[in-house]
């Protein structure tokens, strides 16, 4: 049996975010109404202050969820649908490296295509940007990872995969 990782598009999360945005709009308009009604005295009203703080926190939570959701979308976009569990795990290790190098979402996307062996012009077409932009992204990837070319990036990744692999069959 071929095991496949979970890489479905996170529709549930999107639904949750949409529902929370509707609630947050409602609470925010309520808070604004209160401040309109009470004016500056609202600042001394504990109930209104707690209400404002909750509305604010809800908005923060929504922003956090959107960040998380975009991360999930990136993961889904970079994982091909029929990957095995092992390949998905390898992908996660590679992605962890990209994050530890501090790559931006664009650079992570370019680096993923680069590791898959695509040419600059292919990556440019896939991303809908100019080849010069892709070259600039690649230079940023080399700079941030302390490498000089595609080969060095690959050896760095493979090296770490071999080091990080759990010790197996040491007793035999």
């Amino acid at each position: 049996m071929r095991l496949t990782p979970k890489s479905k598009t996170p529709k549930g999360v999107l639904l949750l975010i949409a529902a929370q945005i509707i609630c947050a709009v409602f609470f925010l308009s309520d808070v604004i109404d209160d401040f309109r009604g009470y004016g500056a005295t609202a600042l001394y009203d504990t109930h209104i202050l707690i209400e404002s703080a909750s509305a604010f926190l809800l908005w923060m939570a929504i922003l956090f969820e959107i960040r998380l959701f975009f991360g999930l979308l990136r993961r889904t976009a970079h994982l091909e649908s029929s990957l095995s569990i092992a390949q998905a795990a390898m992908h996660d290790v590679i992605e962890a490296h990209f994050e530890s190098w501090g790559l931006t979402p664009s650079e992570q996307d370019v680096a993923t295509f680069m590791v898959k062996g695509m040419s600059i012009s292919e990556i440019a077409a896939l991303r809908g940007s100019a080849e010069g932009t892709i070259k600039a992204h690649m230079h940023a990837i080399y700079r941030k990872s302390g490498t000089h070319n595609r080969g060095e990036v690959l050896s760095l990744l493979i090296d770490s995969l071999m080091e990080d692999s759990p010790p197996t069959n040491e007793t035999t």
Binding site: T9, L14, V25, L73, P105, G128, S129
Partner: protein, 171 residues
Amino acid sequence: MARIKVWDPFIRLFHWSLVILFAANSLFVDDDSKLHIWVGYAILALVGLRIVWGFVGTPHARFADFPPSLKRGMAQLSEMATRRKHAHAGHSPLGALMIYNLILTLLVISLSGYLMTTNMFWGTEWPEELHEVAVAWAQISVVAHIAAVFFETRRLGVNLARAMVTGYKNM
């Protein structure tokens, strides 16, 4: 960079008349006035024409050009997440969902508003409540629509608001 003709004169006229009429009725015109009712009829007529135009109009105006699809909407969100840039000539998938949302909401507003004027629903509360909830939803949608136009214009480098004035997209 190519200059592509996207929106025909009817679409542009429809869009901006709707902006003016909806803004008028939801913000300025007295709710109980005759004018409010006439503006409402005008909006209903505009939306009706837009629906007809969605079947017989120019290529990008047709519903077949922007079918409602959650899957394609998700794909557009993925493009945002990975910072890929593929501009759409007509409506983008998420833009399309907003168009359907606005058309349906405007129909609900017009029809519930009409029911409030009929004798049959004299004294019943629900048409008025539905009318108000739908208007609030439309206002939230309009704010989201404008925010999305700004965001997508910046993300893709294609001035969407100008395209709705001139009819052309530079992409």
